[in-house]
């Protein structure tokens, strides 16, 4: 996954504040957190920064489809084993007699569901990584042997 420093190296590094952030480093952090868009950096739109702008856009492309919590499921890697469905603490709390026991989810409150052999995420607001009191939870990443789940 792309790092803040990689993004920072591609920015003008003039701390011009035109984007609304106090430094280019702060803008790089905002870019990574998907709070700001590349277009917010007006100097980058100039012709001599074209290669840097294209590189930045290509680096940020994989996180484009991420959920609000930064969750990405790579469907090409997912085997649909359902480890994440059963391991997710939110799924267990919301559906103790279905997903919590390893069976099919019995209600729609669960975050992970397996459809057509691939996992899809829904109810993302229930995720422990969402909201003000969010925690850095790894419960769905750890049981995935193929690395199909990622947070950006």
């Amino acid at each position: 996954m792309v790092t803040v420093m990689e993004l920072y190296q591609l920015l003008p590094r003039t701390n011009c504040k035109k984007c609304g952030e106090s430094t280019c480093m702060a803008f790089a952090v905002a870019l990574l957190g998907r709070k700001k868009n590349v277009a917010a950096c007006t100097p980058l739109l100039e012709v001599n920064f074209k290669p840097q702008k294209e590189k930045l856009e290509s680096l940020l492309l994989p996180s484009a489809g991420a959920e609000e919590t930064g969750l990405i499921v790579h469907p090409e890697l997912c085997t649909g084993c359902g480890n994440c469905v059963v391991a997710c603490p939110v799924d267990v709390a919301n559906d103790p007699h279905g997903a919590g026991m390893g069976c099919a989810p019995t209600n729609d409150k669960v975050i992970f569901k397996v459809v057509d052999g691939k996992v899809i995420a829904s109810n993302i607001k229930e995720c422990r990584r969402f909201g003000k009191s969010r925690v850095l939870c790894y419960a769905c990443i750890d049981p995935c042997p193929t690395g199909a789940i990622e947070f950006v």
Partner: protein, 404 residues
């Protein structure tokens, strides 16, 4: 809720959304199951000598072949329902045929000992509710039976294991490579050299008896410590272990005796392999490699491999299996030199060389019935969509009718 026939777990909590007599979407099934339920891409057509024909002519030609053969082998059966298997065994009896299935080069040895009650076993539901130590030995369940860990063994919360994998369960992997299952068993992966299982078992028996094993002493004592503390353990024996110790299988029984809290679970691949093994065991006392004469004779020479090498058979009927894809290359010419009848829903390598092909319905999707899960539980299969193809049970009925 329908049953998936992708592997021997026979998950019966699958939702299938049907539109225009086709499965449009599956829910809860793994990728393997979803692919099977959505049906095959290349459907088999009835043919004689590679020339397309109609199904009635194919069946007539099959009857000719099985009637005229001096010694015919009926092979496959692991992708058929229990009902079709029972009729297949009846057909073999009537024809004085040799009958064998893929367990002959798979988990046959292990299932035979389990059915003979030489090894303790339990149900998958017991494992979900009680098991605290799980040993995956020579088995990559994560890839072969994708929902095994999430549905029954490691991740779910069971009656006596409410804290699930986080605190209550420990998974151990013993394998020659770091498989996807081994990646989940972080910190408890024991890598062994190829064919090193025998040495590993002997060292483990020593460690369990309180002796200091010579082989990898530290890790072995650590493993023995975990196994001794287990309240309810399960050893999932994969094909890797079965192949490796097939000459001296009794050392697994010796290990099981040292571990009174452990149960052995065969990791079966095809969805109804155990069904065939149980049916034949009930009928003859053997799980595979049987020739019917006045009574059933069991001998290794009646396995598909030996029969083809020694040219004991002069025709073969293959039901729902693709031996051409899994047998060693040197004996394939022997298979291609005799008349082959192939009964399968899809085009396979075997169907391409077959003298006669008979397409059948995909079991669990286009036809129902029953099958036996890897732990011995009988599961009902559902018919989800209708198709014009005959189920293999009906094909067996037709053949039985024609020869009597």
């Amino acid at each position: 809720m329908v049953t998936c026939t992708g592997c021997a777990l026979l998950c019966d909590d699958i939702e299938a959304i049907v539109e225009n007599n086709r499965i449009k979407e599956t829910r809860n099934a793994c990728r393997r199951g979803a692919a099977r339920m959505k049906g095959c891409v290349n459907r088999l057509v009835p043919s004689i000598d590679q020339q397309p024909t109609d199904i009635e002519s194919s069946i007539r030609k099959t009857v000719d072949i099985i009637k005229n053969a001096r010694s015919i082998m009926l092979f496959g059966w692991n992708n058929s329902t229990c009902e079709a298997q029972a009729k297949g065994i009846r057909l073999a009896k009537k024809l004085n045929a040799v009958i064998d299935d893929t367990s002959s080069f798979c988990q046959g040895l292990l299932i035979e000992r389990i059915l003979q009650k030489k090894l303790r076993t339990c149900s998958l539901d017991d494992i979900r509710n009680k098991a605290d130590v799980l040993v995956y030995w020579g088995s990559d369940a994560q890839d072969s039976q994708p929902r095994h860990l999430s549905r029954f063994s490691y991740f779910p919360r069971g009656e006596s294991r409410q804290r699930g994998y986080e605190e209550d369960r420990k998974a151990i992997a013993i394998d020659v490579r770091e498989s996807n299952t081994a990646k989940i068993c972080k910190g408890h992966f024991y890598r062994i050299p190829l064919k090193g299982d025998r040495e590993f078992i002997l060292a483990l028996i020593e460690a369990l008896s309180g002796k200091v094993p010579v082989y990898d002493t530290k890790k072995m004592l650590e493993l023995a410590g975990i196994l001794k503390k287990a309240e309810f353990g399960a050893i999932f024996v994969g094909i890797g272990l079965t192949y490796s110790i097939k000459e001296d299988f009794d050392i697994l029984i010796a290990l099981a005796e040292k571990l009174p809290n452990f149960n052995i679970m065969p990791m079966v691949g095809h969805y109804n392999m155990r069904g065939f093994n149980e049916a034949l065991f009930k009928e003859t006392g053997f799980v595979n490699r049987v020739k019917f004469e006045k009574e059933a004779i069991h001998d290794d020479k009646y396995s598909i491999m030996e029969s083809l090498i020694e040219k004991n058979i002069d025709a073969i009927m293959i039901v729902g299996s693709d031996p051409l894809a899994s047998l060693p290359r040197p004996i394939l010419k022997d298979l291609a030199s005799i008349p082959v009848v192939c009964i399968d829903p899809c085009i396979s390598m075997t169907s391409k060389i077959a003298t006669v092909t008979i397409p059948c319905a995909v079991t669990g999707v286009e036809s129902g019935g029953t099958a036996i899960r890897m732990d011995g539980k009988l599961i009902r299969l559902s018919k989800i969509i209708t198709s014009g193809y005959m189920p293999d049970e009906e094909i067996m009925d037709r053949l039985l009718e024609a020869i009597s």
